[in-house]
């Protein structure tokens, strides 16, 4: 069996206020996986991400990156290899031009100037925002800021990219553009974790889904397995994806054959119906 790229073992974390936010989280993440992290508000997703990136230090438990256990000394290695796109873009953007902002991570990696510039241009082109380069971020809209924050992480060339609710601030067109970017990043073999409340998106995009509930992982499997498990859905207050309901209804009414070939998008359903 392959060595996991990120291995989290029995992680506990509580904020200063005392209430534990994570109560024993263990998970193995493998290279190139596309993972949806779902769970209700306050279930500990963001806290888990910050721990995985090494910004928060767990009270208890350990994290290994590519076989090396993370301690204070190699923390930097972890931050370099695991990038987070934060939930609130305004909390992430710190520079006063888009170019300086996207260059912030690479500058911290102590790369030569030419390399930083090359990476900034590349990341901005990737996110289709090259013409915002000299703009101050405070004159961008919410969705545009979101794209800048994604470019931030792309410029760092992290192996693992964590997106904390990336679709929340985006209009449908930009959400779709984001999905295209995700597909592109996936094709480059990046490992991605995305927290989302959009079950349809999770069902469509992810290869694996993790469900958080009150600081614990209560389910881990393919999205299909998870969304068919009514027990888990009830516990975590999740809805079922529309496509899953539609498919099961069609099967029940004998309008399509039950091939266990579950469609995840309207386009796939169309193909199935035309068969």
């Amino acid at each position: 069996m392959k060595e996991p790229i990120l291995k989290v073992n029995n992680l506990h974390y509580s904020y200063g206020t005392g209430n534990p936010a994570l109560k024993g989280v263990s998970i193995n993440i493998y290279q190139g996986e596309k993972i949806a992290v779902i769970g209700s508000n306050g279930s500990g997703k963001s806290t888990f991400f910050l721990n995985a990136n090494g910004v928060l230090t767990a009270d208890h438990g350990e994290i290994s990156y590519q076989g090396t256990v993370i301690n204070k000394k190699n923390l930097k290695e972890l931050r370099k290899n695991i990038g987070i796109v934060f939930q609130d873009a305004d909390n992430q953007i710190i520079a006063s031009t888009v170019m300086a902002e996207v260059g912030f991570g690479p500058m911290n990696l102590k790369l030569p100037r030419e390399e930083v510039i090359r990476r900034v241009d590349e990341a901005l082109t990737y996110m289709n925002i090259l013409d915002f380069k000299d703009r101050p971020p405070h004159y961008l809209s919410g969705g545009e800021k979101k794209r800048v924050t994604i470019a931030d992480i792309i410029a760092m060339k992290s192996e693992v990219i964590i997106f904390d609710e990336p679709t929340a601030a985006l209009d449908p067109l930009n959400a779709q553009m984001l999905e295209e970017v995700l597909v592109k990043l996936g094709a480059e073999g990046k490992t991605m974790l995305i927290s989302t409340h959009d079950v349809d998106f999770a069902y469509r995009w992810a290869e694996r889904a993790i469900v958080f509930n009150q600081g614990k992982i209560i389910a881990d499997g393919t999205p299909l397995e998870i969304f068919q498990n009514r027990e888990v859905l009830k516990q975590a207050n999740l809805k079922r994806p529309a496509m899953l309901d539609v498919y099961e209804m069609l099967v029940e009414k004998k309008m399509v054959k039950n091939t266990n070939d579950y469609p995840t998008s309207p386009a796939e359903l169309k193909i199935l119906l035309e068969k």
């Binding site: 305004d90 912030f104 101050p136």
Partner: protein
């Protein structure tokens, strides 16, 4: 803000965009406080691509000459020269330029009037006006002195305004960094600059939401609302600074705040023109002194 959708799909040509931005900035500018309008103008300026170090140095030298030479003709030349740079070269609409100048102008007028006129019990001076309790009086000399002073201050201010209207704050900070201003000061300036806009945003949102719930319906309520918004703002800014620090750490921040700055090539021709202008000022002073 602008239509992000249209832009994400096809790039608008830069020239068209600049024009679009200029008009758009102008429209929005007046809705914000004047402070952020200046920030907009600097960003939209057509001479923004000039080397910032050059602009800062040039405007400071002009300022020093204008004050040091103390000559009305030099002052007028500076005022015209700076207006030319900002409006013609920088492409700032004249009305916007005037509206920015209007603020210091009021102060200059109020300040210099105090020098030009005086009070007395007796009718003194060449011109006086009886006001019941005493006389306000002035003389041609005094008025002249006042005009010279006004021109001088006005010239000095337009040199500074030329700089601020053509150089975004981040670049000015970059110039200060190169001038070896202490690192701590530079880092603070960078963060504060970014922070001002975040807090303004948060403040506006809180105020609007309070307003929409009748929080400003009468004077008493307004006072309480203002109090809660202000104290909330403090809590929010503390929380935000925490979140900020977290996000910086996540991207490998380790105590050194360094930003990527664009190198703007220094144009030798600018140096010659600037030197020519400064020399002209000196010559003007020499001829008219």
């Amino acid at each position: 803000m602008e239509n992000s959708v249209g832009k994400s799909i096809n790039f608008i040509k830069t020239s068209e965009k600049a024009q679009h931005q200029a008009t758009y900035h102008h429209k929005i500018g007046h809705k914000h406080g004047e402070g952020s309008a200046i920030d907009y103008y600097a960003y939209a300026s057509k001479i923004r691509h000039w080397n910032p170090g050059f602009k800062v140095a040039f405007s400071f030298t002009t300022l020093l000459l204008c004050i040091g030479l103390n000559n009305p003709f030099v002052s007028i030349a500076v005022i015209l020269g700076m207006a030319f740079l900002t409006v013609v070269k920088g492409g700032l609409p004249l009305s916007a330029y005037l509206s920015v100048l209007l603020i210091p102008l009021t102060f200059i007028l109020l300040g210099t009037i105090a020098i030009g006129v005086d009070f007395s019990r007796q009718p003194l001076g060449q011109f006086n006006l009886y006001l019941g309790l005493g006389y306000i009086f002035t003389s041609v000399d005094k008025l002249q002195e006042m005009a010279v002073l006004m021109l001088k201050v006005f010239g000095a201010i337009s040199a500074m305004i030329m700089m601020t209207l053509s150089t975004p704050s981040a670049e000015i900070i970059g110039v200060l960094r190169k001038a070896h201003v202490p690192k701590l000061v530079i880092e603070l300036m960078n963060l504060i600059y970014r922070y001002i806009f975040i807090l303004l945003d948060v403040f506006n949102n809180m105020r609007n939401s309070a307003d929409s719930r009748q929080g400003y319906c009468d004077f008493k309520t307004s006072c309480t609302t203002f109090g809660s918004v202000a104290s909330n703002l403090l809590v929010v800014s503390l929380k935000k600074s925490n979140a900020y620090y977290t996000a910086m750490e996540a991207r490998g921040y380790d105590g050194d705040l360094v930003f990527l700055e664009e190198e703007k090539p220094f144009q030798i021709s600018h140096l010659f023109i600037a030197a020519g202008f400064l020399f002209f000022l000196l010559l003007l002073w020499y001829v008219t002194k």
